[in-house]
Structures are given as structure tokens and as C-alpha cells.
Assembly symmetry: C2
Homo-oligomer: 275 residues x 2
């Protein structure tokens, strides 16, 4: 690459860092890339760090020494996260979302990549500092949020299927009880999808009693893997305490009311904001 | 926001543009954000444009006049796309991917958000200049690629389900014939998911005879929507010409051989690179 001026380096380094969250990038990578001295690269990084942290985009961690380098950790400050979630609550409270049976139509919101990206960034922030190897979800609607979260964490996604698919090879299947309907379902994960002892962040779009997430936790047991955390976009508050199958999770939104008679929905910031 | 220096503005503008592909951002947005003159903002943008285009990150389009502004269009140059696809072919040719029945295990690759992002950028590039309103896929494995493509295009995703779900409201269902197995399947799309006359880019992870994609095309007919294009990550070359149900599509990878006896897989760049 031809020699770049500082102004050009700043643009290129910014996109380079944003593209590789959580990767430790040695200063020499940049020095070689730009034909610049390491001291110049350090000065560039100081400018980027100031802007990233000032704008609430996340941290720029600098590690000194031979094995050192720089690492971008996306993090959303609490006030920005709350503003995002309040807007989301407003959208969820639109009365035409109520479906027969008291279900809530959310597919339009789940279909917005930028909204998923923001939500994924908040979940990644919620598990800041937790050791995680992989993000897991079960098909279908939690998939975009799981990928958005994994992208922010620089991690892969493991996808649990409802049925055993020919394209997954040999798989481990379990039965689980949906907490809200007391009905029995199956979920299945390819044997080669998950290493033993992996630390897994479970992500889903919606949680009522927690039966589906509970199923994923049980499935992890079959792989000798561990739950590093559970993050959901929306939790339903319409669950009796004794019915809840899962107590340790982070939610961004809590639905406290979906009344199809008077067509009223109440959505509030989830437990992430009250802990 | 406090007044920023040029070096700081460059970092902030770079992330701002990368975060909002295809959005037309008026220069006044930046001028106000930074307390800077429009002429300074224009100079900043010229620097960013030079780096973005020099590094093959995409275009920075500047529109003059009162309704003008700047727009970032992600595009991957052909040589970078080919290098990415050649690496992907190498990964796909690992013989332990062969599953019983001659299927190929790809879930580990589909589980990498950064790989999906690159592939999505190539598909977005392939449909540069085409008028598109929404990206569509059918569950399950095409979802990450559809979101990655939609993110690059600044568009929403519409998700077709295999079964009619209670959380989707009233839906339109169709039956379709899987071209390779000649078996009948159902797919279903929520009535409110798609506006009439929408121009739709169909994205999927894998295509053999094209029956699934053909089903999505038929479903679009029910919504009076139009096919703007079809992009798939991997196509199977093991299909007789007369069996192929779809002829107009873009593929990034073409599998020419999956021989489970001698455990050999041959993967080559798809038709995107030969047209």
C-alpha cells in the first residue's frame, strides 16, 4: 500500500477497527500497512480512541509489549441504550401489532438490520467482560439478533434447529416443554457445531416462561458446554413467578400488557436497565 | 456536540457513513454535528472518498444542490470478491464436509458473521444500480446472508416461513415442488410483510434445481410484487439443464462435484465471476 497521510490513515484505521471488533491488531500491522512509524500510528490511535469513547461507540484498548496491539470493543453507553429501547417500546406499543391469541407482530422490526445491530450492540455490552466462545440461538426469529450480537463480539453463531436436518450431519436432539403452552417440542444441534467446554451466550428474540431457552440450556449440557449468559430482546411479563423456568437473563424490553380486548400494549425497558 | 478538529471529524464521519449505507446524508447534518463550515465538511468528505475508493470499500456519492448530500454505497471490487470466493472454495473443498447422501456441511461457515458480511457485500455489489425495496429469504440457513446483504443495501428483510406461525398474523401460503426431490412443500408469508409492487431481491444460501427460489418467486406473484434479482451463495452444478427451474440468478460459488465415495468436493467461483 502506498504511503498515506495522517488524515487518510485515520479514515482507513477507523474502518479497519470497526470491521474487526475484539480482534487484537498489532501496531506493526498498521505501521506496515501505511509505511508509517509506530509512534505515528500510536498518535493516530489516540485520536481515534478519543472520538470513539467521546461518541459512545465503545472502547479502544491498547495493550503494550511485544504481544501488544490495539483492540476495539463495541459498547453502548447506558443512556444511548435506554433511548434506543424507549423508541423501540414506542414502536411495540402500536395497537395494530396485536394478533389473535394476544400475540404481538414484531417481524417488521426484526426485519430491520440496523435495529438488530443496535440491539445486538446492547446485548454485547450487557455481557462485557464475560468470557464467551460462541453465541447460540434456535431458529427462527432470534437469528438476526444472535448474528448482530456475535458480530459485535467477534464470535461465531451456533444455530439450533427445530428438526434434525440432513445438512447438519449427526446431531443431538432433546425434547423440551414450552413453559407457556405445556406442549412438547424437539430441538436438535449438529454434533460438530459445538466444542466441549464451550462458553455459550444464548440469544433469542422473545421469552415468555423461558421453556425454549431452558431447552437450549439442557442441550448445552449434552455437549458439556456452559451457559455464559442469556440475552433476550423482549420478555413477556405476563408470567406467574412460579411458572418462570429461567431466572438469570438479560432483557431489553418487558411487555407488561397485551390486551386484545381494548387493544392496548404496554412495553417498558427490560431488566438490563433496572439491575 | 463540541467542536471537533479535522482529524476527529474524519474518524467520526467515517463511522457515521459506514453505519448508514445508502442513506443520503445532507452536508448540513455534518456541519451542525461538528460546528464546522460546509466547505470544511466537503474537504473532509473528499479525503474519505479518496480512501474508501482507493481501498475498494465502495463509493462515496456526492449530490449537489438543496436536496443534496453524501451517500456511501458499499461495493467490493471484482478482484477482492474473487480472492474472497477462492478462499471460501478452499474451505468448502475440505473433504470432512461430506455428509451421508452427498450433502455438504456448511453451517460452520454460515455461522461466521464476518464471512456472511463479506458475502453479503458481494451480492449487494452484484445488484448495484438495480432498484430494490426489500430483501427476501426463506427460513432457515439463508437468513444471515439475507441480513448481511440487506445491511449493505440499507434495506429491510422479509422472511418467508415454512409453516404459518401464530406470530405472523394472516398469511398467504403456497405449495411448491422441490426440484431435486420432486417433493411438495409449503411456504408462507405474512400479509403485512410486503407491500404491493415491491421490488424484491431474493437471497439464499444454497440452490440446486431452484425449486425453493421458484417458490419464493411464485409467492411474490401473490403479493403483486416483482423479482428484482436472485442471489445465492452456493449453487450445485449437479443439475441437468432441463431440471433447472430458474435460470436468471447470481451465484458466488458453484459446486461441480461432491463425490462421497472418493470423498472429493470441487468448488469454483460462481456465475457472478463469469458474466
Amino acid at each position: 500500500m502506498k504511503k498515506l497521510k495522517r488524515s487518510q490513515r485515520l479514515v482507513d484505521m477507523t474502518q479497519f477497527l470497526l470491521e474487526k471488533p475484539h480482534d487484537l491488531l498489532p501496531l506493526s500491522t498498521f505501521a506496515e500497512r501505511y509505511g508509517a512509524a509506530k509512534s505515528s500510528v500510536s498518535e493516530d490511535l489516540a485520536i481515534i480512541k478519543e472520538v470513539f469513547e467521546g461518541e459512545g461507540m465503545g472502547e479502544l484498548q491498547t495493550l503494550a509489549g511485544a504481544a501488544g496491539g490495539v483492540r476495539y470493543i463495541p459498547r453502548m453507553p447506558m443512556d444511548m441504550a435506554l433511548a434506543f429501547v424507549n423508541r423501540l417500546c414506542g414502536q411495540l406499543e402500536q395497537s395494530d401489532r396485536i394478533l389473535p391469541g394476544g400475540y404481538l407482530y414484531m417481524s417488521d422490526l426484526l426485519g430491520l438490520p440496523s435495529l438488530m445491530e443496535q440491539a445486538g450492540k446492547i446485548i454485547a455490552t450487557a455481557f462485557y467482560g464475560v468470557e464467551i466462545d460462541v453465541v447460540m440461538t434456535v431458529e427462527t426469529k432470534g437469528i438476526p439478533l444472535a448474528y448482530a450480537t456475535a458480530a459485535q463480539l467477534g464470535l461465531p453463531v451456533v444455530l439450533v434447529r427445530r428438526d434434525h436436518q440432513v445438512t447438519e450431519g449427526s446431531a443431538v436432539s432433546i425434547n423440551y416443554v414450552s413453559g407457556s403452552h405445556k406442549s412438547i417440542h424437539t430441538m436438535s444441534l449438529s454434533r460438530r457445531a459445538l466444542r466441549e467446554k464451550s462458553r455459550v451466550l444464548i440469544v433469542d428474540d422473545f421469552m415468555k416462561a423461558g421453556g425454549t431457552v431452558r431447552g437450549m440450556v439442557d442441550l448445552l449440557g449434552e455437549f458439556n458446554a456452559e451457559v455464559a449468559g442469556v440475552g433476550v430482546l423482549v420478555e413477556s411479563g405476563a408470567v406467574e413467578k412460579e411458572e418462570r423456568l429461567l431466572h438469570d437473563y438479560v432483557s431489553l424490553v418487558k411487555l407488561t400488557e397485551v390486551d386484545s380486548k381494548v387493544r392496548r400494549i404496554s412495553a417498558h425497558p427490560g431488566n438490563y436497565f433496572s439491575s
